[in-house]
Amino acid sequence: MIELRNVHKRYRTAHGVGRWVLQGITLDIPAQRSVGLVGANGEGKSTLLRLIGGIDTPTKGKVVRHCRTSWPLGLAGGLQSALTGRQNATFVCRIHGQEADIPEKLAFIADFAEIGVAFDEPIKTYSSGMQARLKFAMSMAFDFEVYLVDELTSVGDTAFRKKARAAFDRLADRSSVIMVSHSESTLREFCESGIWLHDGRAHWFDKLDDALTHYKKSINP
């Protein structure tokens, strides 16, 4: 379970403090429930995902993770462009304390990413689709209970999407996903429940369809 308690967030801009992006979000996101985050641009979907992932801190309030949570997949960063895919994957294994399993994990990542010899080429030679494949494969090599995904599948081709879908299906008994996407079909494919972000507040819906309905109503009144 992931607890959000009265989470507020605003960013510092060049002109002083910015507007409140999130104001007072209190939510319990149950483990093993895949959730889609919907909302218009700038409503704080990625911000919320970053806070859940622990790579940014709320201005007020707190986030408590009671389960092993992945880093937010699909966001920029996380790969060093001068190093090879293999070196980057090794780094991620090391920071997750999997020093002993590195050969096994690398074999898995190389196999899952299906980027062939490019695995030993520097990241700067990768296309965005190849980077997405690598990042996704890296995250699949660890035993996370909750995967945070930010528009990850949008860059992959059909084969990659199928693979991602199949991978999440296999994990379904122990893992779930919290996903930001503007593609309705992607959300429907992966998520059961939904969170609709609007005016800095979060609304929870047990059924994703209800969240999508509210979201669509808010943009086309």
């Binding site: 622990g54 790579i55 960063g77 790969l79 060093q80 190093l83 090794t90 920071i95 898995f108 899952f112």
Partner: protein, 283 residues
């Protein structure tokens, strides 16, 4: 979830999910930090050495070419010895010590900007990137220094310090000062980017004000007074004193002066990283 993974590797095919070991307990904060430092160290060392072709060779050639050029310049200008010292070694010790300080300071100060992408993993804190870079740079400079001195020994120059402990102390303190400055500046760069431009101006004349090319003892007394405000002068001179018996030291050199700069900057840097953790991590 790992049954699926092991399927793909052809391992543990028959282990039912109920028999799989439960996921390990969460790691302690110290364990996480240690594995992050280890991972960052390997990555930094790797990219530092392999970022350009013949990375290793350049690191050795650069100070060597620098010393050779200075030797050429000085041999036409004046005598090649300086009261009981070998002038090449005198220059090498100055340059290596100075390089140890500036490279550590500048590279660790810019560590955060270069590694921002890694903050995508919550295990990695901004301060980790700075600390690890300081250690990588220090180790690298140590290897470069040892390699150059060994090379000089092959040419018959006596490179063994007569006071090895003082030598270790002097160069360690130069590193401590450099890394402390880097720690402090890294927060400064992140919060007030203009500081980086100002530091560019500060680092430029430092080379001439640190006694790399000359012995402060050979300078007029008025100038000596000013030079002694620079902690690097203390480090370089103590380092030379450790190598050359009877080296003429300038009055007023102090280990404590350099140490206090190092320790104070470390404490300040760590405190700043703690105080401004959120602001520094925010992009």
């Amino acid at each position: 979830m790992f049954s699926a993974i092991r399927d793909r590797l052809g391992r543990r095919l028959l282990t039912p999910s109920s028999l799989r070991p439960p996921p390990s307990a969460p790691r302690s904060a110290l364990q996480v930090s240690l594995s992050v430092w280890r991972a960052l160290f390997m990555r930094e060392a790797m990219s530092r050495v392999s970022s350009q072709r013949f990375g290793w060779a350049w690191m050795l050639l650069q100070p060597m070419a620098h010393i050779a050029l200075l030797m050429l310049l000085f041999s036409t200008l004046r005598q090649r010895t300086l009261a009981g010292t070998d002038f090449a070694l005198f220059l090498a010790l100055g340059l290596l010590g100075y390089q140890l300080f500036t490279n550590t300071a500048q590279r660790s100060a810019s560590a955060l900007a270069a590694n921002r992408g890694l903050l995508a993993y919550r295990q990695v804190l901004p301060v980790d990137t700075v600390l690890v870079r300081a250690v990588v740079e220090g180790s690298l400079q140590l290897v470069i220094g040892l390699a150059l001195l060994s090379g000089a020994a092959l040419f018959g120059i006596d490179v063994l310090p007569h006071d090895p402990l003082l030598a270790l102390q002097a160069y360690f303190l130069l590193w401590l000062f450099g890394s402390g400055l880097g720690l402090t500046l890294s927060v400064g760069y992140a919060l007030v980017p203009e500081i980086q431009k100002i530091m560019g101006f500060v680092f430029m004349p430092l080379y001439f004000a640190s006694g790399v090319l000359f012995s402060p003892a050979a300078m007029p007394a008025r100038l000596q007074e000013w030079l002694l405000y620079n902690p690097i002068v203390h480090g370089l001179e103590l380092g030379r004193a450790a190598f050359f018996p009877g080296y003429h030291l300038v009055q007023g050199l102090s280990v404590g002066y350099l140490t206090s700069f190092g320790v104070a900057l470390w404490l300040m840097g760590l405190a700043l990283h703690r105080r401004f953790a959120t602001q520094v991590a925010a992009q």
